[in-house]
């Protein structure tokens, strides 16, 4: 009797185990299939741009926050910040008006803005930096501005070039909302080519996802 019980027990156990393992490994592979974004159906036509061109109108709204508040969130958040981006006044002025101007790369060093991972949205905490730069430009009407957009190294090169440009353009849009004419502001993307921090960790990455303001002084006569 004992031997039968043992045998049944062993077989039953092995059966249970095999059933369990087969449950753990379902027959269909579990690759997560990303959902199609419902927004996509309405986007992507090449119709005319919506939004009117209202270059440099009025003072900015949001002036909250303290100066130099460059808090960097420890972990990036993927956000859909492009949908609804206002392209008003975004067309770039000709290169000639910017070229030949001496650059001051130091003056706005403490006013660098930072971005979340894979995002080009200006953080509310960086608004004060934008406003400070805008205020300086208002007080110095003969100066222009160059915004350099940068990325961390986790995107591919050409993708980062586009993302860096997109970041610089977001900063530019924010500056124009503070009353600076878009024609005075030029953007340039470096992708991941000029990291501020060399490390391959989140704190370095966070420092590298940034927009830097460079003052373009009046052309020397």
């Amino acid at each position: 009797m004992k031997s039968i019980t043992k045998l049944v027990l062993i077989l039953g156990l092995s059966l249970a185990v095999s059933l369990l393992t087969s449950c753990k490994n379902p027959k269909t592979p579990t690759s997560s299939i990303p959902k199609l974004d419902p927004k996509i159906s309405q986007a992507g036509t090449t119709g005319p741009l919506t939004g009117s061109r209202n270059q440099g109108t009025g003072p900015a709204g949001d002036r909250s926050g303290s100066y130099g508040n460059n808090n960097v969130s420890p972990q990036g958040v993927d956000s859909v910040d492009e949908v609804g981006f206002d392209e008003s006044g975004i067309g770039q002025a000709s290169r000639e008006s910017f070229e030949g101007r001496p650059m001051d790369t130091e003056i706005f060093k403490d006013y660098t803005v930072h971005f979340d991972f894979d995002s080009s949205a200006v953080r509310p905490s960086d608004r004060s930096n934008i406003t400070a730069v805008a205020d300086y430009l208002k007080a110095h009407g003969d100066c222009y501005l160059l915004i350099d957009g940068h990325c961390d190294e986790r995107g591919t090169e050409e993708y980062n070039q586009a993302l860096g440009e997109r970041r610089a353009l977001s900063a530019r849009e924010a500056i124009t909302k503070d009353g600076i004419q878009a024609g005075r502001v030029r953007t340039r993307s470096w992708g991941e080519a000029k990291p501020a921090a060399i490390g391959a960790d989140e704190s370095s990455y966070a420092q590298n996802r940034r927009g830097e303001f460079i003052l373009l002084l009046p052309k020397a006569e």
């Binding site: 077989l11 059966l15 986007a43 992507g44 392209e87 067309g91 770039q92 002025a93 993302l163 440009e165």
Partner: protein
């Protein structure tokens, strides 16, 4: 007593048999599916090949390298399906047979050119028999050698890294490197005038002309299959969008008009469509658009979270691209109409060879980046060891 124990044993035996049968039914169900997978990959196994005869060391190493890039496993004679009988006294002579030697596919001798060129030609003939595709071993690759994080120079070499020649000496940064019409020119974005601008670099004359130098971003040029148009990314009118112009930059047309950024356009081989990446849905995905403008259409890339740097295969059937995870880049292939993605290997910046079978891409390890070639059907990868610097943005002549 004895009877009872016999009965017990018999019952136990029957039970054991029943359970075993049940167990194996389950087991068979799972393995049947494994077998299907295995059968599918069987047809894409590397070609087991053995090299016989007296090839000198240089010719032999060229032949081995080429065959491995082409999807062959160099094996012992008794494990080989194909035998290469090759020798070189002055010129290389080569013969391809089956394992027994009774079926001969070709017997050829090679004249003129260097030993390397002759060995490349023999390898090309062998792969033509095995894959039906024309040789890629006479092709060149262009790539950048990085001198620091924000500086690099363009080089052109044979596909295996030999006979490298430096093309630029700007001490600047190159992005979006690609070949121009007829492989007689290069197109790229350079920061040499302190802004990312697009240049056409005529290789015979060494002269450069500007294709696009608008305020903002000018990058990612891509020549149309007929050599008459250039697709590119500009931000002059808004966020980075896809544009198409003539090769001299005239006749510029804006193709996409999104509030998101687009990147890396590539042409369908018939020239009717462009594929590119866009962040319009929040993360980077692949889209197509008629090359003359029209509605954007998403290409589904089932199985991966992001897709950048598409390169349309010359046969039009598939699109290679890079997917980005938090820690690495992976080279992927998806049918041109979209569908399930095949993740092939770690790397970025893929470029198809004219055979629509071999990819070249770069792979970072630490601060150094190496060039890797991959035979897509067999998934055999081979590092281009002869490119010794930190190399990126490889692209194959087409």
């Amino acid at each position: 007593m004895q009877n009872r124990s016999t009965l017990k044993r018999a019952t136990g035996g029957i039970l054991a048999i029943l359970c075993t049968v049940f167990y194996f039914t389950l087991w068979a169900q799972t393995t049947a599916e494994l077998d299907i997978d295995r059968t599918a990959s069987l047809s894409n196994r590397p070609f087991p090949i053995h090299i016989k005869g007296g090839l000198a060391s240089e010719a032999l190493s060229v032949l081995k390298f080429d065959l491995e890039v082409g999807g062959c496993d160099i094996v012992a004679e008794d494990a080989a399906t194909y035998l290469v009988h090759a020798s070189n006294s002055e010129n290389i002579t080569g013969r391809l047979t089956d394992q027994t030697g009774s079926v001969q596919y070709f017997n050829r001798s090679y004249k003129n050119g260097t030993t390397r060129a002759q060995a490349h030609a023999l390898a090309g003939d062998i792969l033509k028999v095995l894959t039906g595709q024309d040789s890629i071993f006479n092709c060149k690759i262009a790539y950048c050698i990085n001198t620091s994080t924000d500086k690099n120079e363009i080089y052109i070499s044979d596909f295996d890294g030999f006979n490298a020649k430096q093309v630029t000496q700007d001490g600047s940064l190159i992005r979006g490197l690609t070949w121009g019409a007829g492989n007689k020119s290069l197109l790229y974005c350079s920061y040499m005038r302190n802004n990312p601008d697009i240049y056409l670099h005529n290789l015979a004359e060494g002269k450069r002309s500007v294709i696009a130098n608008f305020t903002g971003l000018n990058t990612s040029p891509s020549i149309s299959p007929d050599g008459k148009k250039v697709a590119m990314i500009l931000s002059k009118d808004g966020t980075p969008d896809v544009y198409v112009s003539n090769v001299d930059g005239s006749g510029l047309v804006r193709i996409t008009q999104t509030a998101a950024d687009e990147a890396s356009p590539t042409w369908s081989p018939d020239g009717s469509k462009l594929c590119f990446s866009s962040r319009i849905s929040g993360s980077a995905r692949l889209y197509t658009v008629p090359a003359s403008g029209g509605k954007m259409k998403r290409i589904s890339t089932t199985g991966v979270g992001s897709a950048t740097e598409p390169d349309w295969s010359p046969d039009g059937k598939s699109i290679a691209f890079t997917t980005t995870t938090r820690r690495s880049f992976q080279i992927c292939v998806v049918p041109a109409s979209g569908g399930m993605v095949e993740i092939l290997a770690e790397g970025e910046s893929p470029s198809w060879a004219p055979n629509s079978r071999t990819l070249v891409f770069s792979r970072k390890s630490g601060k150094k980046s190496t060039l890797v070639m991959l035979d897509v059907p067999t998934k055999k990868a081979k590092t281009i060891a002869n490119v010794t610097g930190s190399a990126s943005q490889p692209c194959w002549t087409r």
